[in-house]
């Protein structure tokens, strides 16, 4: 009996292969997007854990000098004394690439995690042949045609041998030495303080520290994964609901033939489980591919934002697969719960009022809306009550879920108003019918709302970020030309030379040392000249009166927003910069894109407390028209290579490149979610189209052409999408505010102002309409081509 019943149940799918495909696709997509994000997170976690675990024995410590560069003699002295150290040459190429040169023969283990897989595949001899090997991120290859692509590297970074780096960036320097683990060092070596007293030994940032810093980034990804998962489940829900509706007579017959409700429910459950496992496996494969495609961007983002390194390749983890399958199963059962419940309650005899269920009762809509409002309120309350990142995410979740729950009631009210205002009978029917379709389209429209709102929210955040960041770069990179001398001697002569040039308006030192700041690790301490360039442009956030004058006197300091937020410092507090130096903070300034602390003091104060600060880099204020002349003069007359001169446009382009990549992942997930929402509408409409035939047929019989009916159907779908977009706008803006004011402030340490982009909203409306048009194209075409015989059948017999 069971076999026969199962055969009958499954025969449905043989007759409706498209429906089966939709169901499997829905589950697969939900699983894929969710598990892709999980795979990336797992990879990152594993990488942080590995770097934490290998940190003490393996990862090399750094030797750095406050001056930023280490003289060759110091390196040679260390080697001569028996210290196993390896130099790293850093500089810039004329194309604006940052070059890092390593001495691969002395390089300690674990120094270059990004390149480890590449290096492992190379014969050692390849590292000492000519020309020296080069590696760069794939998008930096235009500026470095000889380089081999290495997806883990940050954009704009070129890694090569030390010889290669010295040739490519002669104005660079040995910025630090990598220290081999103690086990590899001779016991008899003299202490560091004896050989190189100016150098300090420090550990690279630990995995635990990076994990803490990047937590919000991964939470962000997880949130997106969950959202996509929910949207995918809407599709599965639609397909399961349709199959149930169509099999309703079969269920009745089976029950009438003596099958118990329990057995029927068990069989359906088994069927769903099988589908979940098949589609879940498919989803895992898709998810792995998606994650592998996104990983390089994630890796670059993490590197650019936090200095964290991920391997370029994705590992397969059985625990990840198991979780993915479990999620697929749980999601499928959740999506099918309604149908299973209806099955358990199915009366054997057809109910006398088959379509009463179709009209959502106003009361249940209002109840749902009230629940939505309550959820949003709980989310809003979480910010002051819980606080921090969890509070921010609670706010986001409450807003999104609450708005989604309230949507059907809002749409119903809007459609009722439209019906009330309509004069023509077809228009009235159109709106009344749209209202009746709401229960069926509800989930798909909720999915569309979420996708659109996240699009606006994230879009506003990224655009606000971009606008602020570009403006910020303009403020911070005021000098038209940046020049770096090769030695102190040359720098002195250069300054004297520039003083004689009539077109040079000012020569501004850009000198800095690295010092520990307020328990927040090493920060950059810059000296700035007392010049209008800074007074007019520096992006100050909070400031005390006469701050610039006090800074010029030498007993004051300005700190960046990150340091202010993390160490809870502000104007009026003091900051210890040297054992005998603790100036007062007179202002804070924004410093986007910088992961660490930073502070500025006057140039005389800096040189007084750090006499050996390297004085090589300078910004030159010069009229843009004079740049070519000046560049020519410096290269020709003065003899400095062209590579030592960088116009500010190039620096800006480099900074923006890192920025764009940071949000590439978000944009990709965003687009995927919107696509899935369109798919949800399509499946919901296909579900409805078979059920709606009896409702359209009389309107056709009474003299409305199929073409007219089809265009009305399209109009209705577009109107529903447009109304949904209307609600998505305020929701998206609320989301953007929550992201900028709460989540990002917690995550990055800086707060961005929010800007509005009405152009984006117009684009969003167009996108919503396009998604709806795409989704309804096929159903509408189907309606347009419906044979009269198909309509006529609905008159002849009960469906």
């Amino acid at each position: 009996m069971t076999r026969a019943a199962l055969h009958a149940l499954l025969s449905h799918w043989r007759r409706h292969p498209g429906q089966l495909a939709t169901l499997l696709l829905g589950i697969a997509i939900a699983t894929a997007l969710f598990s892709a994000v999980q795979a990336i997170n797992a990879e990152a976690r594993a990488s942080y854990a590995a770097s934490e675990a290998t940190l003490s024995p393996d990862a090399p410590d750094h030797l750095t000098s406050p001056a930023g560069r280490i003289p060759m003699q110091t390196f040679l002295a260390l080697r001569a004394a028996g210290w196993q150290v390896s130099p790293v040459w850093e500089g810039e190429t004329p194309e604006g690439l940052t070059v890092q040169g390593y001495d691969f023969l002395t390089l300690p283990m674990g120094s270059l995690p990004d390149l480890a897989p590449t290096l492992a595949q190379m014969p050692p001899s390849a590292l000492i042949t000519l020309p020296p090997p080069q590696w760069a991120a794939p998008e930096s290859l235009a500026a470095a045609p000889q380089a081999t692509p290495a997806p883990g590297l940050a954009p704009g970074l070129l890694v090569t041998t030390i010889d290669g780096a010295m040739a490519l960036a002669p104005s660079g320097a040995i910025t630090h030495l990598l220290v081999a683990p103690d086990a590899a060092q001779p016991l008899t070596r003299p202490p560091l303080a004896e050989v190189a007293p100016t150098l300090t030994r420090s550990r690279p940032q630990g995995g635990a520290e990076i994990a803490r810093l990047t937590r919000s980034f991964h939470l962000n990804l997880t949130a997106f994964g969950l959202l996509s998962f929910a949207v995918g489940l809407f599709i599965a829900h639609g397909a399961i609901g349709l199959a149930f509706e169509q099999r309703r007579p079969m269920f009745r017959t089976l029950r009438a033939l003596g099958l118990s409700t329990r057995l029927l429910a068990a069989l359906t459950l088994a069927e769903l489980t099988a589908f979940a496992l098949v589609a879940g496996t498919l989803g895992l494969a898709l998810g792995h591919v998606t994650a592998a495609a996104l990983l390089p961007d994630v890796s670059a983002s993490l590197r650019g934002l936090y200095g964290a390194a991920l391997p370029g390749q994705l590992a397969f983890r059985p625990s990840w697969a198991a979780t993915g399958l479990a999620i697929a199963l749980a999601g499928t059962l959740a999506a099918g719960a309604g149908a299973l419940l209806a099955l358990a309650r199915l009366p054997i005899l057809a109910s006398a009022k088959p379509r009463a269920w179709a009209r959502a009762s106003t009361r249940s809509l209002a109840l749902q809306a009230a629940a939505g409002a309550a959820l949003a309120a709980v989310g809003a309350a979480a910010v002051p009550l819980i606080g921090g990142l969890p509070g921010g995410f609670a706010l986001l979740g409450g807003l999104l879920l609450g708005a989604a729950l309230a949507l059907p009631a809002l749409l119903a009210a809007l459609l009722a108003a439209a019906q009330h205002l309509a004069r023509r009978p077809l228009a009235q029917w159109l709106w009344a019918d749209a209202r009746q379709q709401l229960p069926g389209l509800r989930l798909a429209l909720m999915a569309l709302l979420l996708a659109l709102a996240t699009n606006i929210g994230v879009g506003t955040m990224v655009s606000s970020f971009r606008l602020t960041f570009t403006g910020f770069l303009d403020q911070r990179l005021v000098s038209e030309l940046y020049v770096t001398a090769r030695s102190e001697d040359e720098a002195t002569r250069l300054r004297a030379f520039l003083d004689t040039r009539p077109e040079v308006q000012a020569t501004l030192p850009i000198w800095h040392v690295d010092v520990p700041m307020a328990d927040q690790g090493a920060g950059e301490l810059y000296g700035v000249a007392d010049h209008p360039t800074y007074r007019d442009n520096w992006p100050l956030l909070s400031v005390t009166p006469g701050a610039w004058d006090r800074l010029a006197t030498g007993d004051a300091v300005m700190i960046n927003e990150q340091l202010a937020r993390r160490a809870a410092l502000g104007p009026g507090d003091t900051l210890q910069l040297a054992p005998d130096w603790q100036p007062e903070i007179v202002a804070t300034y924004s410093d986007y894109g910088n992961p660490g602390p930073q502070a500025i003091v006057s140039v005389p104060a800096l040189t007084r407390h750090f006499p050996d600060v390297p004085k090589l880099r300078h910004g030159i204020r010069v009229a843009p028209d004079d740049i070519p002349t000046l560049t020519a003069a410096i290269t020709d007359d003065f003899g400095l290579p062209a590579t030592a001169l960088v116009p500010n446009a190039e620096i800006k382009a480099y900074s923006l490149a890192i920025f764009e990549r940071t949000f590439a992942v978000t944009a990709a997930l965003n687009a995927l979610t919107l696509g899935v929402a369109a798919l949800a509408i399509l499946t919901a409409m296909l579900t409805l189209s078979t059920m709606r035939l009896p409702q359209i047929a009389p309107v056709w019989a009474m003299g409305t052409t199929r073409a007219r009916l089809a265009s009305l159907e399209a109009l209705r779908t577009l109107a529903l999408a447009a109304f949904t977009a209307l609600f998505a706008l305020p929701l998206g803006l609320a989301l953007a505010w929550a992201l900028l004011a709460v989540v990002n402030t917690e995550a990055f340490g800086w707060r961005l102002p929010m800007f509005l982009f009405p152009g984006q909203w117009a684009l969003l409306f167009a996108t919503a309409l396009a998604a709806a048009a795409l989704a309804c194209f096929w159903p509408v075409l189907k309606l347009r081509r419906t044979q009269p015989a198909t309509f006529l059948k609905t008159f002849a017999s009960e469906r």
Partner: protein, 219 residues
């Protein structure tokens, strides 16, 4: 003549590959105000013929003319217009519009046809016993009430021709009698001709003329 069908043929493809001739040479003529009962075995093609007379489908050959103008040869849009303005349809399943309330259902076709007459609709509602239910939803009505509403909808535009496919087939005897009487009465009042497909001898007896469909031909 109001409605003329001339030598109509209709064949349906069979799933097995062959073809089934349902109507093979059907002709009939109907005068204005005339009432006609169409009887026949189940599967004899009564509904098929009615659908062709209504312009819902096209014959393979032969023609249907309504009020002297061809109907079956018209394109889609023109046939839709004819249905909208000159034909009232009543089905066995009632086929009301579930998203509109009773009042809107009653006036729907008249408004589509641009001939909405509020007074007439009110009279219809009164006569059909629907006046207390005008703001109710169709599915909350009883079967008899639903069919009376369907008849009212067909009559609201005062079309010259009403086509009904087993209008009382889903009703009990008592309801059937009431509905039939109302339909005949109102059709007579508006001067509409009426074609009713029926299995019931009682219904057939109430019409002025009877035709029997058998083996694709009328007798």
């Amino acid at each position: 003549m109001l409605l003329v069908a001339d030598d109509i043929h209709k064949t349906f493809p069979l799933p097995s590959g062959g073809a089934q001739a349902v109507l093979s040479g059907v002709s009939l003529a109907l005068a204005p105000g005339e009432t006609l009962a169409l009887t026949g075995e189940s599967g004899s093609g009564k509904s098929t013929l009615l659908h062709l007379l209504a312009g819902l489908d096209r014959p393979d050959s032969g023609s249907v003319t309504l009020g002297g103008a061809p109907l079956s040869t018209l394109p889609d849009a023109a046939r839709a217009e004819a249905r909208r303005t000159r034909i009232g349809l009543v089905f066995q399943q009632f086929n009301l519009i579930p998203s509109l309330d009773v009042a809107a259902n009653l006036a729907f076709q008249a408004r589509l046809a641009g001939r909405h007459d509020e007074g007439w609709c009110a009279t219809l509602a009164e006569r059909l016993g629907l006046a207390p239910h005008l703001s109710a939803w169709p599915e909350t009505l009883s079967g008899g009430q639903q069919q009376r509403l369907a008849i009212g909808r067909a009559l609201a535009a005062k079309p010259p021709l009403i086509l009904a496919d087993e209008p009382t087939g889903n009703l009990d005897e008592e309801n059937a009698a009431t509905v039939l009487a109302l339909m005949l009465e109102l059709a007579a009042e508006t001067g509409a001709a009426l074609v009713t497909v029926t299995h019931s001898a009682t219904v057939a007896a109430a019409m002025s003329r009877r035709l029997h469909l058998s083996r694709g031909k009328l007798a």
